[in-house]
């Protein structure tokens, strides 16, 4: 039995306390211990971005991050993006643009896209392309993904941000 330790952190705005094996990855903790299955496991090696979550305001691959390292930090998953009104603008844009096919890469893709627009309200299409380099999609071909991200940037530029 692997050594375990108790950690406390904020998950999607709520405090959680959980006992985790010290070698467990954040992705496994989210999915198997906390039941948040929105974040996906695909490559498990940091290549594909399906497991992207936000930790202390920065996106990273939860398949590489040790769960113990969440201690004291603020973690946001795809489940945490929704607002009281429903989907957040990035989620809405992906739906409106038909940017989703099988959907498996989408939680990670949307987390990363949302982060990019948050970091840079004037994000260009090229910036979005570079920023999404760590998110692989086997279905969509990315054009509609970039359209969706662009539409959120435009919304922000017309005074609603």
């Amino acid at each position: 039995m692997s050594l375990a330790t108790e950690i406390k952190f904020t998950l999607n705005g709520r405090p959680v306390a959980v006992r985790v094996p010290v070698t467990m990855k954040t992705l496994t903790m989210l999915r198997d211990l906390l039941g948040l299955t929105g974040t996906k496991y695909a490559c498990g090696e940091g290549e594909c971005g399906a497991c992207t979550v936000k930790v202390d305001g920065k996106t990273l691959n939860s398949c590489l991050m040790h769960a113990v390292d969440c201690d004291g930090r603020e973690v946001v998953t795809i489940e945490g993006l929704k607002t009281p009104e429903g989907m957040n603008p990035m989620q809405r844009a992906f739906v409106d643009h038909g940017a989703v096919q099988c959907g498996f890469c989408m939680p990670g893709m949307i987390m990363q896209a949302d982060y990019l627009v948050g970091e840079n309200p004037n994000l260009t299409r090229e910036d979005a392309q570079r920023g999404l380099e760590g998110n692989l999609c086997r279905c969509t071909g990315y054009t509609k993904v970039l359209d969706a991200v662009g539409s959120v940037v435009e919304q922000k530029c017309c005074g609603r941000c």
Partner: protein, 288 residues
């Protein structure tokens, strides 16, 4: 796998190196190298697992007199965006720009990149060009003791460095380059992102009325360790950086590079590429 008996997340360098003195400690930071290595069985955790993310005094980029200090915990994203780095050591920002993906850059630490000691480590190349030193801390006679080792002497063999058991890499230092210092970095792979360098070349020096001085050349992925290319340096030092000078440097690149065939490229291709890059980078240096 050996059972992990202890998990530590120290807050101070003293606490960290004191625990390391007892031996059998696996240090982890962003985990972007360690996690895949452990998953694949290439490496195993030892009795104590130590998370150094929260150690104070090991993050951030600052000037200390004529030196620039970058803490070992500083992420590649922080380096990529730092105004001081952009101003005085843009070659480092250039390498950060071509490093992995956003998500990896947000997690990957400078110290992890150096200690992983891969010949393809992309932060290592520009730091060799900047003639940086690493600071290593250990617990000795009841206190923290430190020593500095030049990056050029740090990499001994594949995955083997001058860092001894019980030593923690705390920071990197380099002298603020002169105002006429110019440097460029180029790495290759079949695609721009998420690419482990097939070959990388970094070149820097002072351009003094067309004459290149204090030249430093670094090469990645063409030898068992990251490399200072001494023959290319000698070919360039004190010479005019013109077509003839560049030709001589390109010829010397073949002497420095000792590439091998591996899954990413053949030795032949690497030898060819290192010459192409030497030429390209020098033309770029001239252009700047």
């Amino acid at each position: 796998m050996q059972d992990i008996k202890t998990y530590l997340s120290p807050r101070g360098i003293d606490e960290a190196v004191r625990a390391m003195a007892a031996g059998d400690v696996t240090v982890f930071c962003g985990g972007t190298d360690l996690s895949p290595q452990v998953e694949s069985g290439a490496r195993q955790y030892t009795a104590t697992l130590m998370n150094i993310r929260r150690v104070e005094g090991m993050s951030g980029i600052a000037e200390a007199g004529n030196l620039v200090r970058i803490g070992a915990l500083t992420t590649v994203t922080e380096i990529r965006r730092d105004p001081l780095v952009a101003r005085v050591a843009s070659i480092l920002a250039e390498a950060a720009e071509h490093f992995a993906s956003d998500q990896i850059r947000n997690a990957a630490s400078l110290g992890g990149n150096i200690c992983n000691a891969s010949p393809a480590g992309d932060m290592i190349n520009p730091l060799l060009v900047l003639d940086a030193e690493v600071e290593l801390a250990r617990w000795q006679d009841g206190a923290v003791a430190t020593r500095r080792v030049a990056m050029a002497d740090f990499f001994l063999a594949p995955r083997q460095t001058a860092k001894r058991d019980g030593e923690l890499l705390t920071a990197v230092f380099f002298a603020r380059p002169a105002t006429n210092f110019v440097a460029c970095f180029r790495k290759s792979g079949p695609r721009p992102a998420l690419e482990i360098s097939t070959v990388s070349v970094g070149i820097g020096g002072r351009l003094d009325n067309g004459v290149f001085r204090d030249v430093r050349v670094a090469m990645g992925s063409v030898a068992p360790t990251p490399l200072r290319a001494r023959h290319v340096e000698a070919a360039l030092e004190g010479k005019r950086l013109d077509a003839d000078g560049i030709l001589a440097a390109v010829a010397a690149a073949k002497t420095d590079a000792k590439p091998i065939d591996d899954v990413r490229a053949s030795a032949w291709y690497r030898e060819h590429l290192v010459q192409v890059f030497t030429e390209e980078v020098l033309n770029h240096v001239l252009g700047n």
